[in-house]
């Protein structure tokens, strides 16, 4: 027993010491930079939320979290916030919506009016879609984003051709990026409809 333990220590002491050393190094680094990383994420969220819900000064998280069904038996706790103006009046809702894109997960910050009837639009929090094609969803007030600005907050459908300037539930896909265009429509359909139902059930919509 003792000889086995001795052999084990002889063979692995360097690995154990190195693991402790690098673990400590990473712990120190994390302690030093984690607040900055968290602050960056909050700043980015606030900047994006402010850009889509311009009337809001602050964003107040819901007291009770909303659980959404995101398909395939999975649920997700939605990050929904109330947009308040300087006087504390509700001017809209902002939430993070996410789903699979062509390359990786797409994360959006979506803004809706106070009655949850009209979309103000969305901004992109994270997107690794194909440069020059799928990443056109990130263009502020571009061809794709504009179609959601003022659209009814409900189910959307995707069309390959159509009038993109007509603001309704039909979204015209980006040429060469149908998968990404459909992914955003699916994300919207998953989140907008369920959040609206949840808020309505909780009596939070005027």
């Amino acid at each position: 027993m003792f000889s086995k333990l001795k052999l084990f220590i002889q063979e692995s002491w360097l690995l154990m010491i190195s693991s402790v050393f690098f673990g400590g190094l990473l712990a120190v680094t994390n302690a030093a930079w984690a607040p900055k990383i968290a602050q960056n994420e909050i700043s980015k969220y606030n900047t994006l939320a402010q850009s889509v819900l311009t009337a809001a000064q602050t964003f107040k998280p819901l007291a009770q979290p909303l659980t959404l069904d995101v398909g395939k038996g999975k649920t997700l706790i939605a990050d929904v916030r109330e947009g308040l103006d300087a006087a504390g009046n509700r001017v809209g809702w902002v939430f993070i919506a996410e789903g699979s894109g062509f390359a990786d997960k797409i994360r959006l910050v979506v803004a809706v009016d106070a009655k949850f009837e009209t979309l103000y639009g969305f901004s992109v929090l994270a997107c690794s879609e194909t440069p020059g094609f799928g990443d056109k969803i990130t263009i502020k007030n571009g061809f794709y984003q504009s179609q959601y600005q003022g659209a009814p907050a409900g189910k959307f459908t995707l069309a390959k051709f159509g009038d993109a300037k007509k603001i309704d539930h039909e979204i015209v896909a980006i040429t060469g990026a149908t998968v990404t265009s459909r992914a955003v429509v699916d994300i919207m359909n998953t989140f907008v409809v369920q959040i609206k139902e949840n808020l309505s059930q909780k009596g939070l919509l005027q």
Binding site: L15, L25, I37, D104, G132
Partner: protein
């Protein structure tokens, strides 16, 4: 390189930036080379991260080279490299969040970048700290140079300019949408652009080497 497989500082430096330049001579690190060179800024950031990881991992591996057990050496290399890659990843998330998002999984994937483990095995595990650090620095510089060059060609042909930030944009070929003559080629920032450009660069380097020989 001397007979007992030990390198000199000068040899290590020259090797990294020309005679054994990772992408063009050793054909190592091709995955990030093709994936992140859509712009000079992305290539430069990836290159600098690799320089940091190469220098640190080579230094640590060199310091522990006499203690390494043969069957544990790959495990020790991976542990060392993973620690420094995680630090580089956290640094980008803290101080370059936009670039961290843009490079996505390719920064954590430096852990499995062949250049780093190859240099740990071929150089750091057999040489002193100074030579290993110089080898890491030179290999990193060589890798960064190729990434920046490839990124510059692709970015210029795809957009007509090189962007260093939202405000600092160097226009090389005046694009049509800004009143110029150049029609940007979107394919250059797609994978096909990376393969074609890298192939042409490799062909040119091989041609140069053949002429010298």
């Amino acid at each position: 390189m001397s007979e007992n497989n030990e390198m000199t500082v000068g040899g290590a430096f020259l090797g990294g930036i020309w005679t054994e330049i990772p992408v063009l001579r050793l054909m190592l690190g091709l995955c990030p080379t093709l994936a992140v060179t859509t712009s000079v800024k992305s290539g430069l950031t990836m290159g600098l991260c690799v320089v940091f990881v190469l220098i640190c991992s080579n230094a640590v591996v060199s310091m522990m080279r006499n203690l390494l057990k043969p069957h544990l050496r790959i495990l020790m290399f991976t542990l060392t490299i993973a620690a420094f890659v995680t630090i580089a990843d956290m640094y980008l998330k803290a101080f370059q969040p936009e670039m961290s998002l843009k490079l996505g999984a390719y920064i954590p994937l430096i852990i499995v970048n062949c250049i780093i483990i190859a240099r740990a095995e071929a150089c750091a595990a057999k040489n002193g700290v100074l030579v290993s650090v110089v080898d890491g620095l030179a290999m990193g510089i060589g890798f960064t140079m190729v990434l920046c060059f490839l990124g510059a060609i692709r970015e210029v042909l795809a957009t007509g300019c090189i962007s260093f930030s939202d405000t600092a944009v160097l226009t090389i070929l005046n694009p049509v949408d800004k009143g110029g003559w150049f029609t940007p080629c979107t394919a250059m920032i797609m994978p096909v652009g990376a393969f074609v450009t890298l192939g042409l660069i490799l062909g040119a380097v091989n041609q140069l080497s053949r002429k010298k020989a």
